[in-house]
Symmetry: D2
Subunit: 254 residues, 4 copies
């Protein structure tokens, strides 16, 4: 079971233009700081946060309970000019868990409702015994040689975002999620998606976008550990110690 | 003339896996902090930075000279475990300027060369008299009502990134650039692209992606000011004080 | 028993002047960021950090074990150009615990030794059953009316730092520690110091420095909770719901 | 002439306890972040900020005008839950300039007035021709060998803060200011204080506190440059290329 937390800035759109539009460099600094802070806060408990759309962030939060979430929510209020609401859901797949987490937030009120403030709705928490997070770390083969060092920066970006979009669509169909994490790297919470399924899925995206993708996959009781294992898997493929486009690594005790 | 700075983390890929893969929550925190800091540093001079791919950031830097860039470059070295290289180019269009900026960096060595460190190559700076930045702030009509409050968080994200990809492609064809800035918002440095051209371009993306886009456009001598004007234009359209999907606002003295 | 962690930046002095002196605004930004981050990291586990001398920070870390410390130590290495060493000690008094923590670090090598790196020496951890933290939150009566709003900013500062020095001396004699936390506020980890002792101690400092001090005291199993209770005690005195210069509050289960 | 900016958080005391006391780790993180940010913002213009009391910060701001201050003030409002007021004064000595800066803020209303918000009162700005900043960087000889590596962390701190207090008193008498900047380091904006005067002053503090102090002194048109020169002077003394406890270095064009 994977546990997903959806984090939403309360009434953010209206705030950004009140009383007049706030200057964009400030908003960008605010959003990136908020993301960095949430990453540290969830990271302190073995979780991981993806910036997603910056005003709607998605975390894998196995192992974190109501109090852990509440402490984070309170802390944001004490250090930022905005507040956050959170919805938490658990399911066999990441896609299903985020669906429940979304409903938990939507039940609390609209994203631009001035009345909704600091909702913290938990549908269900994953029990320790039941806790498994699978994360795939996907990247593009030799992007430095084939794109970064020869194409313009923006042409490389277009390719990276095209791949992102196709991965999002394909992974979601398979019950997973996918996020851009910088460079040519993507992370996919992907409980229930097998190696074979992922290998095929990557091939389909390869063909559509004309790149060559590979993925390390980690399975652990918590998200940060799963991501660490996925990183090692990816390194193995890069170092050609495995002759495949995917490799799975498991946490010892799992 | 628009001036673009490409900022690239030196030898970042290898660093992230040396001696073993560094944990992802730390890397995400590092990248978001770096972006937030650069945003403040360029913002202090009226510039604006887009996170782009986090390890390759793109700034509109009209009004900033060698010393301004050098101070930022030195400061990053003093506060981060990584260093940055920068290339600067100027041209009539944003696409052309970033192409030159990219070449300036590539001339300094490869992105994963352990020998390249803190390159600062400037092809040309925009003179004050010649300085114009056009930025379009684009968003999706009523995303809160049509997506955020009724669809799952990830389904909304897929749509937002699909629109991003199509905007990147279309704007680049027209000589512009386009970046995601959070929520359902995009910013496009777009010197030389007329209102009519942009209106048509948005319509093409609308049709492909099944959303309805609008854009405020700002023209000013510096990027932050242009972005501010674009924000106001967008507010005018939202408030229906103009009956069009685009509106241009100019800085007083321009 | 109180558990103290001493955090020391490795080889910091030499680093700040290598290869030439690094510019002070950067160093100040680095130090304040490091402090803010450590505060969040320890805070995520109910601990609290005092900046002390910025290159030597002191934390009350009851409830945190080896892994919690290690995660923080690793994370700093991944996001900063410097590394940290830590020593941990436990004792009946804060002064004794920091003495042990200091020895733990000193055993690992000198503060300016280029060979010492990321020492993490733990003498002993406080067991949950045994865990008590007493923190006093001390402030100056009506500093806004008597100093801030009528004296120069620097004259007020001299007074605040005079009081700090006298509090440090007096509290240390009594087995406690004392730190400046901004404004006219001081926090004193003070296990084993009774209300009467503290009341007398404050009076002695009052007489020496010609101000009037008061203190809320909190006792809890963890530092952040003890500090929260101390804050409430101080508010009670300010609101004159108690007619004394000190008030103690206890955590429910203690 | 030196230009000083006093930065004061508006109505901070009351905010920290509304509706109930906010948790101290959050407040400490807030304050240290604010300081780090202001340091970067002023640093982008060649200025330097001292944390002073965290809710009252003091900057040397030669070269910065109304717009530069306003941009910073607005930016804080957009990224923090608090706002700041600023007063600016210029004079022959740092002590006098901060006195004027304090009055400029006090004229705007009390530090705990809920009505005062974002005051920006400038008495006078230093003209470029007239701009000189003298900063002394003072430290304790061999604190690592004599204290850090052999005494407890807190005993070392007591000594460092005793020296701070004595330096504050002595420097203020001479028309200067003095701030703790971490470790065993102090910075003193000290326009008008000669080498001889400073040497004598340090000797008096040496005798009172039983340490041995030395100082590099920098004179430049802007604060950060003056601090850089002071750092180099201090390095010269450390390296024994000068046989004195003080050394002055001047900016080329001065």
């Amino acid at each position: 079971m994977i546990q997903i937390t959806l984090i939403q800035i309360d009434n953010y759109g209206p705030w950004t233009v009140t009383p007049t539009p706030r200057t964009e460099p400030d908003l960008q600094a605010l959003q990136s700081r908020l993301y960095g802070d949430l990453e540290r806060e969830f990271g302190a408990h073995g979780g991981i946060v993806f910036f997603n759309r910056f005003d709607n962030l998605i975390a894998v939060s196995n192992g974190m309970d109501y109090d852990d979430h509440k402490l984070i929510q309170d802390s944001i209020r004490n250090r930022y000019p905005i507040t956050i609401s959170m919805g938490v859901g658990s399911a066999e797949t990441a896609a299903e868990a985020q669906k429940i987490a979304t409903e938990m937030i939507q039940n609390g009120g609209g994203a631009q409702s001035s009345e909704r403030c600091e909702v913290l709705n938990i549908d269900s928490l994953v029990e320790d015994d039941d806790s498994t997070v699978q994360i795939a770390h996907i990247d593009i083969d030799d992007i430095t040689g084939s794109l970064t060092d020869i194409e313009t920066a923006f042409d490389t970006s277009i390719k990276v975002y095209e791949v992102l979009y196709e991965l999002m669509v394909e992974l979601n169909k398979a019950g997973g999620l996918c996020f851009f994490i910088g460079g040519d790297n993507y992370m996919a919470p992907s409980n229930g998606i097998s190696e074979d399924e992922l290998r095929d899925l990557l091939k389909r995206v390869d063909e559509k976008t004309n790149v060559s993708l590979k993925a390390g996959i980690g399975r652990a009781t918590k998200a940060a550990k799963a991501a660490d294992l996925a990183d090692i898997g990816l390194e193995d493929i890069r170092a050609k110690t495995v002759d495949d486009s995917v490799e799975v690594l498991y946490e010892k005790d799992l």
